[in-house]
């Protein structure tokens, strides 16, 4: 089998690891939590980093009027379907199409990932800003506006007494690596074609 074909084949399969490993992790650190609270985001689930973490995050957040983290969101159905379909397309391309299609698949994946991230951002924004008007504690920014508690999309941010970390996990890296391999496959294919 040609080298670029193998790359595309592997690239198309790698995102399947999202069904095994989490996509993202949000960690909340505070002095009275020597073991930080943490939540893994999978493509089909939220899960505790340590037992009962989500329950305890909800308990903390209810003081400032944040909603409970839902048991399920529509994305948990859409994301897995998206991954399965794009993998299928990727495999078809690997078997049937030439290297130029590898680039198209790569672009498709970039667009879909960006859409996913944007969706994640919207959810986070809503989670951090749609606060119960009867919240026990209300905080305002220096400019007088209502303080939001949106965790960072990527990186680290101080929110009141907590330091929130938000970073991709093995699942996201697998997706990225898969996309990278497809792009590499395209480059290898183009180089061979020029020769």
């Amino acid at each position: 089998m040609k080298k670029e074909k193998i790359l595309m084949f592997a690239g198309a399969l790698l995102p399947l690891l999202l069904f095994v490993f989490p996509l993202w992790k949000i960690t909340l650190e505070a002095p009275q939590y020597p073991t930080p609270l943490g939540m893994y985001i999978h493509i089909n689930d939220f899960s505790d980093a340590n037992p009962h973490d989500i329950k305890n995050i909800n308990l903390m957040n209810h003081y400032v009027g944040m909603k409970y983290i839902p048991e399920a969101i529509p994305e948990f159905k859409i994301f897995p379907a998206g991954i399965l379909i794009t993998t299928l397309i990727g495999l078809l391309i690997a078997f049937k199409a030439n290297y130029k299609w590898y680039l198209y698949w790569f672009i498709l994946m970039v667009l879909l990932s960006a859409a996913g991230l944007y969706d994640f951002y919207l959810w986070e924004h809503d989670y951090g800003h749609d606060l119960d008007p009867k919240a026990i504690m209300k905080f305002t920014n220096p400019d007088g506006s209502v303080m939001g508690f949106q965790p960072p999309l990527f990186g680290t941010k101080d929110i009141l007494n907590f330091t929130a970390h938000s970073y991709p996990q093995l699942g996201a890296y697998s997706l990225g690596a898969g996309m990278g391999l497809a792009f590499l496959g395209f480059l290898v294919g183009r180089k061979k074609n020029k020769q």
């Binding site: 329950k55 305890n56 308990l59 026990i136 504690m137």
Partner: protein, 652 residues
């Protein structure tokens, strides 16, 4: 005045500098030697190296300290009611203090011992004896709570207890006072020959740790003072010191001190098992409580047991031998190899050490020196390994460092004396302040002591601490024993009277310590594990409130329809599942203690309202930022009111 203060400070600082220089000069172990303060300093946030479980004596409890810092972490309620933790006050734990004499709110806790596997402390359980109303308690070190208490029949002054065998096959409890067996109405003057001393062997289930009184050896009517198990070659034997072999029953201080030698009783419990298997026991009627706390129901049950198997040593050859030991020996201690049995003859100036090998040899060659009540007495000279000559006054207890050294406390001369096993020479002595009783080396009653520290426990402190009126604290003193000479590092006060202690490396216990109880495992009969199940039910004059608590509210928090004369049960479940978030609860006029409920746990208290009104209840443990808001009201109507029960949370 201010100037004078500065002057004093300068003077004291100056003196201190001079003294410290001097001290450094004295203990010149080079630049590496550290001060006592540094050796016991555990920095904020750091953990101690050892747990020390120190008995509370007349407090009836067991306290948990860290070593080397001497910091107190917890007082585990065992035999005495504890209002702080609702022990013996809430409905769940009241059965733990049940006995054949009814509910007993107190005892005198003496000798903790840690469970062992292959002769080494394993950190699963601590056993401790109640001395006054004879009982043995088991503390589970995954929760640091008392989970089982068994009463000992035919026993009185349960003192030569609670020591475990090499694989925790048995926890052993010997009676200090001999009594009529079975108890009956008889003249005290007929003591001699009629009273019996029961040595009880309580088996411990290897899987779930459940205790069961397997059998008792009915010994002559002496006082059985202390005991320790054999180990290594002597595994299978148990050794008990005796006094009052005179069998006196009055003015004991004189009449029980007449014999030149009393005995160490060597009991072959493997032989006892054979006799039991052969059916050579008698089953006699008895009445004793067996109380078990179940971690899933968070509830204790008390069962009365009605009989016990007994062995008569006169009818069981080879079961017991007597080793003559001078002058009312107190502590009975076995070295890590199991070869040496130390009899701490408290009225003798010498320490007597017996040899297990010699004992077996004497038994095999039938070198007996008479008998007492059918039990062969071995010849003193035939079993003697050696004598530590005149090491101090009033030897009480000995522990071992695992490096060939023994450490003995001397009550009268207030000191700890270090001596060498085998050569019997005294190596070092250090004063204690004052009148030391027991001492403890972590792992000291095992094959592998952690020979780094010895803890001496003192009966008297007088001027050692800030005075607190006529009643002053008792204390423990920590010595570094890593070197040739002992070094006093630290004094710290104790809870109650520290009779004995058991120590273990923290790493053997820490990882097993639970953080919460899982709500999903809660099988309490009155648990409310979700807000949907919250309710109040009436059954005649009994009212059951199924209540939950979570930061920072009770559910329900408004209840109406309670009447004067009702018996109101608060069954409260803590829905938290986070580490260290207990909630407490009590209500005005409750004739009992608060509840202190751990995450995932259910507890119950009873309230019998006597006055009409609206009465608040609240969280008693500062749980959260909204702790002060964690409160509720109960409306109490007259006894003849027709108001229906209603309950709510958050309804305006």
């Amino acid at each position: 005045m201010k100037r004078l203060n500065y002057f004093m400070i300068a003077l004291i600082t100056g003196l201190f500098l001079v003294t410290s220089c001097n001290q450094q000069g004295n203990n010149s172990n080079g630049a590496l030697s550290s001060s006592a303060a540094e050796k016991v300093y555990v920095a904020p946030g750091e953990h101690d190296d050892y747990y020390a479980f120190i008995s509370g004596g007349f407090s009836g409890q067991l306290s948990v300290y860290g070593l080397p810092s001497g910091r107190l972490f917890k007082v585990i309620p065992v035999f005495s009611q504890d209002a702080e933790k609702a022990w013996g006050y809430n409905e769940e734990t009241k059965p733990m203090l049940n006995t054949s004499h009814g509910f007993i709110p107190w005892d005198d806790s003496h000798h903790p011992d840690i469970s062992q596997t292959n002769g080494e402390v394993d950190g699963r359980y601590v056993f401790i004896n109640g001395n006054n109303t004879p009982r043995i308690a088991k503390i589970d070190l995954s929760v640091f709570e008392t989970t089982e208490i068994i009463e000992i029949p035919n026993s009185a002054g349960n003192h030569s207890s609670a020591f475990v065998t090499e694989n925790t096959e048995y926890v052993v409890a010997g009676t200090r006072f001999s009594v009529p067996v079975p108890q009956r109405d008889m003249s005290i003057k007929e003591y001699k020959g009629n009273f019996k001393g029961a040595l009880s062997f309580i088996s411990v289930d290897p899987e779930d740790g459940e205790m069961d009184l397997s059998f008792q050896v009915l010994m002559p009517g002496f006082d059985y003072d202390l005991s320790h198990p054999g180990r290594g070659a002597s595994h299978g034997w148990f050794f008990f010191t005796t006094y009052n072999t005179e069998e006196a029953s009055t003015l004991m201080e004189v009449n029980a001190s007449q014999n030149d030698k009393d005995f160490i009783a060597a009991v072959n419990w493997k032989k006892a098992e054979e006799y039991i298997a052969q059916g050579k026991f008698k089953t006699i009627p008895a009445n004793y409580a067996h109380n078990v706390y179940d971690e899933e129901t968070h509830t204790a049950t008390s069962t009365m047991k009605k009989e016990v198997r007994v062995l008569d040593p006169a009818e069981c050859p080879g079961l017991v031998y007597f080793l003559p030991t001078p002058k009312s020996p107190h502590g009975c201690d076995v070295d890590p190899s199991g070869e040496y049995i130390v009899g701490n003859g408290k009225l003798s100036a010498d320490l007597t050490v017996h040899s297990f090998t010699k004992m077996i040899d004497a038994i095999e060659n039938q070198k007996f020196d008479g008998e007492a009540y059918g039990i062969p007495i071995l010849k003193f000279e035939d079993v003697l390994a050696g004598t530590v000559n005149q090491p101090g006054l009033g030897p009480l207890h000995t522990e071992f460092d695992g490096k060939g050294n023994a450490y003995t406390t001397f009550f009268i001369s207030s000191e700890v004396v270090k001596w060498k096993l085998g050569t019997w020479e005294v190596v070092d002595r250090k004063p204690t302040y004052y009148s030391v009783g027991h001492l403890m080396i972590p792992g000291g009653n095992s094959r592998k002591p952690f020979g780094e520290y010895v803890l001496a426990m003192n009966k008297i402190t007088k001027d050692r601490y800030l005075p607190t009126g006529p009643e002053v604290t008792q204390s423990a003193q920590l010595y570094d024993i890593s070197g040739e000479k002992m070094e006093l590092l630290l004094d710290f006060p104790t809870v109650g009277e520290p009779h004995y202690a058991a120590g273990i490396a923290a790493d053997l216990v820490k990882p097993r310590s639970k953080k919460i109880f899982n709500l999903t495992d809660n099988k309490h009969a009155y648990a409310t594990t979700s807000d949907a199940d919250v309710r109040v039910e009436r059954d005649g004059k009994e009212v059951h409130i199924y209540m939950t608590m979570i930061r920072s509210h009770f559910n329900p928090d408004n209840i109406e329809g309670i009447k004067v004369g009702d018996k109101v049960y608060f069954h409260v479940t803590n829905l938290e599942q986070d580490y260290d978030v207990p909630h407490g609860v009590s209500i005005i006029g409750a004739n009992t203690s608060e509840l202190l409920i751990m995450p995932g746990q259910t507890e119950t208290f009873v309230w019998e309202p006597k006055q009409v009104g609206v009465w608040p209840f609240y969280c008693t443990d500062f749980c959260s930022a909204l702790h002060q808001e964690m409160q509720g009201y109960i409306r109490v109507s007259p006894a003849d009111s027709n108001l229906d029960l209603t309950w709510s949370l958050g309804e305006d």
